[in-house]
């Protein structure tokens, strides 16, 4: 395939293998994420979901084999990082006493886009307010980030990922520690971003029941790719029921861990 051949492809993963210290974690992974899709990535704990995402983002560079393309460009040459927003699974593992306000944290989302020697302008400040408003955190703008609850911090990090107006948003279990009512609102927000702003979404979650109601595609991972197809196909497949059962357990354990 030539570069930029298919601009409607946001991610292309080809025959990717990965191991941590000789321990294989991903084997023979291949898939494509199309522009405008909303993909749910599911799989039990330790199945390699976060690892796969870090590979896509170039955060792990000891890839054993395989190729990854972002927006048609090989990962190694990809430079337009502001097109991608990322909320990591451990988003709130930052230093809790870090003396920065919510506003300052969200502003960081714009740093990659801004040139050297540039400070925030009015338009950029408005964008930050808008992103905070989207996640319902505008009233907390001036509060130190360390003084917020875990779920509130999570929302701030989502705002930071949104502020640079990415075309592709990757969220690794963003709703862990977020209350049920907010989870619903959060999914509706994702749907809005996907449908109105045409942002391509990749969402890692254990919450299969809820997820399948919103996503267009499902990736099912457990070291190898077990399923890749539309949400409807996933619902009718055997995998769906197996995972629903498995994952229910997993979700509970998970919740326990974080509280």
């Amino acid at each position: 395939m030539k570069e930029n051949d298919c601009i409607d492809e946001v991610v292309r993963v080809k025959d990717v293998f990965f191991q941590y210290h000789g321990q294989p974690v991903l084997e023979n992974i291949a898939f494509v994420i199309k522009k405008g899709s909303f993909t749910g990535l599911v799989g039990p704990n330790g199945s390699g979901k976060s690892t796969l995402i870090k590979l896509i983002l170039g955060l792990l560079n000891r890839r054993e084999r395989g190729e990854i393309y972002l927006f048609g460009t090989p990962l190694e040459k990809f430079k337009q990082w502001s097109k991608i927003g990322y909320v990591s699974q451990k988003a709130n593992s930052f230093n809790s006493g870090f003396p920065a306000t919510v506003f300052e944290v969200v502003a960081m989302g714009l740093y990659g886009k801004m040139g050297l020697f540039r400070f925030l302008r009015k338009g950029e400040k408005e964008k930050i307010d808008e992103a905070l408003n989207t996640v319902g955190m505008l009233p907390f703008k001036k509060r130190p980030i360390g003084e917020l609850s875990g779920g509130q911090q999570q929302r701030v990090f989502i705002a930071r990922a949104l502020v640079s107006e990415p075309e592709f948003l990757i969220l690794d279990e963003p709703t862990v520690g977020v209350d049920a009512a907010s989870v619903k609102k959060f999914y509706q927000l994702l749907l809005k971003l996907n449908q109105e702003k045409n942002i391509t979404l990749l969402l890692v979650t254990h919450d299969i029941g809820v997820m399948t109601r919103y996503v267009t595609d499902v990736l099912c991972l457990n070291k190898t790719l077990h399923f890749h197809g539309t949400a409807q196909d996933f619902e009718t497949s055997d995998l769906s029921s197996v995972y629903k059962h498995d994952v229910q357990l997993v979700t509970h354990e998970h919740g326990g861990f974080h509280t």
């Binding site: 337009q80 990322y86 230093n95 809790s96 801004m114």
Partner: protein
Amino acid sequence: MIEALLKYEFLQHAFLVGGLIGFLAPMLGVFIVVRKLSLIADTLSHLTLTGIACHLFLTQHFSFFLQLHPLWMGMSFSVIGAVLLEKLRHIFHSFKEFAIPVVLSSGIGLGVVFLSLADGFNNDLFQYLFGSMIAVTKEDVWTVFFVTVIVMGLLMLFYKEILFLSFDEEQARVSGIRSNFSQLLFIVMTALVISISMRIVGILLVSSLMILPVATALQFARSFKQMFAYAIIFGELAVVFGMWAAFSFHIAPGGTIVVLSLLLFIVLLSGRKLLGLPVRVYRSKKEEM
């Protein structure tokens, strides 16, 4: 004191230099504290001493070095050490703190060798260790001013990058920030500021001037911007009054400056406690677990 200040040129120089480092040291200190790099500051200050010892040794054998300010050699060692530290931290990825004792002890060892060879265990050494206001020359002022301009320029250029990296390295990298380069730049800036601070505060006490005002600022700041403001205010207070006390009572300024910063920290912290305000502790989630 004011009379003396008007009368003695060296005192004017000393206060100029002090004013600049009272501003720069806490400013970089803000990043050092939030990144938990205090030990790196100490390591780099000891390397400055190694460089100065090397200069001392070289002047005895090559007259060329007599024309050179010892601080340049100190700065070179400190900067080279900073680069080395970064490299070592990459090599021992999972044991990053391992790099510090290696560089620190090698630096001190080498410094002692140079000092012994140069017969340098004398009054001069004492000044380098604990600081001095005597005989601060115009050349000192220019050197410090020059470094201040460079460091301020770099900090303004790379403020966003360094702040984001300090907050969350992974996210910063995903935003396309070149983490290795910014990291290296920051540590080199730290090396430069440490070297120039040494003239007044002394090698053994430089890192406290970078850390203590920031620790105090942490109690009051409600944003990252405020951190700088408070840290610089506390830093300048300590330096100016510390130098005044040092001159009046014939004490090494490094001592008075650090003791004053410490007093400021204790008084303001107790004040907060008495007023029933929370005392903030800086720690990461990892340590809480």
